[in-house]
Symmetry: C2
Subunit: 193 residues, 2 copies
Amino acid sequence: MQLLKDRIRKDGVIKEGNVLKVDSFLNHQMDIELLNEIGREFRRRFTGKNITKIVTIEASGIGIACITAQYFGVPVVFAKKAQSINIDGEVYSSKIESFTHKKVYDVIVSKRFLNKDDHVLIIDDFLANGCALLGLLEIAESAGATVEGIGIVIEKGFQNGGEKIRSRGILLESLAIVDAMDAKQGTVTFRGE
Amino acid sequence: MQLLKDRIRKDGVIKEGNVLKVDSFLNHQMDIELLNEIGREFRRRFTGKNITKIVTIEASGIGIACITAQYFGVPVVFAKKAQSINIDGEVYSSKIESFTHKKVYDVIVSKRFLNKDDHVLIIDDFLANGCALLGLLEIAESAGATVEGIGIVIEKGFQNGGEKIRSRGILLESLAIVDAMDAKQGTVTFRGE
């Protein structure tokens, strides 16, 4: 998605340790016009898929998922991190390791909101090692739901999350795949360039 | 907002301890059509206000804020809970006590995304004791931003958060104010009824 790649080059900040900060438009401050273009692009890439629900994980996936859901006409369910007293006992859960926050946490989805009749599109902002996605896939599998595909805004192509997912035969569409970053030069190389 | 009150009566679940669960349509599974009606209503209630940014707090405020932002044509900034290594040092912060999760945490907003030229509409799903809102107000004040108003989906009118906010002279619009709940009968009394 050229608009997204241009925006990453313009406003993304590259830091040592392969950190790509896009918090000025994607995951802290959110450019809602860009999110709408992203939603339209996901609709285009998953044309013909019968989606009944968009599933994401808190927090930074929620905005993208909600805007995208408008193009599919379906509700959003977001997986929650850790148990809240406002969640009933009956949940699907999975353990996820976050490298950003350096900890393991439980993610949960109420059994009331995901079942075997659901055809799910999973949406998230980033894909790196794939831990969060594997957790969401485990939850979808527990529910007996069909995963029709996964839509990612930015994939770090030099980490193995994409390979893990694609090797399972799951349709994974990433709108921008970063194959290399150079913090000193401040440059990004996208796949296919 | 009658559509919202009807939905709370239809799909809300009342539990002992004044717990109102609306996770089937607002803050776990999200009905995006309802969120759009909520966004339109906020636009109507803040007519004439010059808003430059919508500010909310993760996680459950994000979806409502993003959909609402489409009616104002502005970006969303969501305050993050706790420090992440992906956030730069320069942040505004405030401590918030969560009664739901029974702990105190820091919420932060990067100084790059809020400043004295901003006219802010704060959006959140619930208002009870007002701790989260007071934290966001403190952050907006630190930034020198003007708070044009606060839009809440459901206010628990029997708790004192609304009084705390309104007594400061801030324009607070809640789309449904619950004045009483009866867990045994499963009934809700809204303000003005």
